[in-house]
Subunit: 294 residues, 2 copies
């Protein structure tokens, strides 16, 4: 049998993404020894019940000892502390990667753990559902989606190649770009949509009890799609907004200006302004379908 891509993988954080990756490794790289690390005992208990790891621990330093791959899949706010805990325990030649949604901050927080001979290849598999926790994971989560790697300049090309191969195993299309660019693109495609969905669902919730039950009953008219997005993990998303603050505020400013323009058109009865806008946005949907992302 061929040498597995990674001999020993430490998964620090094993929620939706971490546990889905564990399932991919189980399916496609059964020789790989998987160590799952989580802070909460019930998470580790779930991992054992699901049989998606060979070992479980709540100690990041113990998890990474002798691992040739370390995958950090916790909320972003835990990165700096994890980096401090694993720094001296990382094996020579180990590759550290992550799955976080903000890459400049990920690099800033993880870099202190990266000594000579250890490699940092930050990554972001752009896939997910509104569910969280190890029970919600599944190997097919990544099928045909994009994974964006943002290796800092000077990163060892063979380490990048191995992380590329990892996500290709998960059937992802892998692309590389600068962290700053990633953060700007994702602010538009993911962070702003989530912020808007959270806002609108919150607005509806504040309407008072009688109206609220009706809003829920008649949600099929558009609102329910927002409730799905606004059910995403609160801690993960809190961290994303805290860590990608500048890019999110910038795109939010543009959004607010556009919304004000449409609001003005409604108030003034300028139907043609709305219609022109709506015709333009409909074309975007076709592009998304053609790009096979719908």
């Amino acid at each position: 049998m061929a040498e597995p891509l990674f001999r020993r993988v430490a998964l620090i954080g094993i929620g939706l993404i971490g546990s889905s990756l564990a399932r991919v490794l189980r399916r496609d790289s059964p020789e790989t020894h998987i160590v799952a690390c989580a802070r909460r005992a019930e998470t580790l208990e779930a991992v054992r019940r699901l049989k998606i790891a060979d070992e479980t621990t709540d100690d990041p330093a113990a998890a990474v000892a002798d691992a040739d791959l370390v995958v950090i899949a916790t909320p972003l706010s835990a990165y700096a502390e994890i980096a401090a805990k694993i720094a001296s325990a990382l094996a020579d030649g180990a590759i550290v990667t992550d799955v976080g949604s903000v890459k400049e901050a990920a690099i800033r927080d993880l870099m202190p753990a990266i000594r000579d001979g250890v490699h940092l290849v930050p990554g972001h598999p752009v896939a997910g559902t509104e569910h969280s926790g190890p029970e919600s994971g599944f190997a097919e989560l990544f099928d045909d989606r994009w994974c964006i790697l943002t290796p800092p300049p000077g990163t060892d090309p063979s380490a990048i190649a191995k992380i590329t191969a990892l996500w290709q195993l998960a059937k992802m299309k892998v692309v590389t770009m600068p962290a700053e660019h990633h953060d700007r693109v994702l602010a538009v495609t993911s962070h702003l949509p989530h912020l808007i969905a959270y806002t609108i669902v919150g607005t509806a919730t504040a309407l008072g009890d009688d109206l609220r039950s009706e809003v829920i009953a008649y949600s099929a008219g558009g609102f329910r799609d927002f409730t799905r997005i606004a059910a995403s993990d609160p801690v993960m998303w809190r961290d994303i907004f805290m860590k990608n603050r500048e890019a999110v505020l910038d795109v939010l400013q543009r959004f607010s200006e556009d919304l004000t323009a449409l609001q003005r058109a409604i108030r003034r009865g300028e139907g043609e302004v709305l219609e022109d806008w709506f015709i333009r946005t409909r074309a975007i949907r076709r592009s998304v379908i053609e790009a096979k992302q719908a």
Copy 2:
């Protein structure tokens, strides 16, 4: 065989909703004679090809002659003109209903056609997809969704009962409420979500060519759900915002205030404000699922 619910139905406008209702009648009331009326020859040609009507015409007055049910399923901006055209052609005892998303305006625009002995029972089947046109309809569109009727005070109860039975045939749950209340609820559950989705997709489109192709590629992170909503029929939605102006502007104002509060929390680094908000919105998703609207 029992008498059909309606002997002769005139469908004025035969897009997604009108053609889906035609398919329901074909399935569950094959004795009913269906007349489809549309302005464009290619729409009528599609109706004939799909065999979802017994007669086609571009003349609303001819369509409604001798009909015991008239269903207006055009964009809202066409109502007043249709009312003028059909007024003298409506048969004694005919029931006029519609499927529009704004009910106060629908009543205002249709009422001039309603003489003594003719009944107006405005309705809104809360169901839809982002597709439009007669080819996009299907009988199951309405299954298990709500249909809201907003009969003006004094409407003949037997006319209301017949329209209730019509939508129950389509497997809808039928409820009655005042038009003004309907417009306020739908402003929250449907009109505001669409306006926001249209805005955000437009904002992303304006980012410049290189960024735009990336926004489309990485749309799986949340954006693609908005593109689906923002692909809805431009004319239909232009009319909804023009006709439900006050309710939409009111809820939009609340939304903007909430968004500003979250923007402020991001700028000031107040993570706990965001987390509290996100925990609250997650609970709403559960309510939507429990209400079987997800």
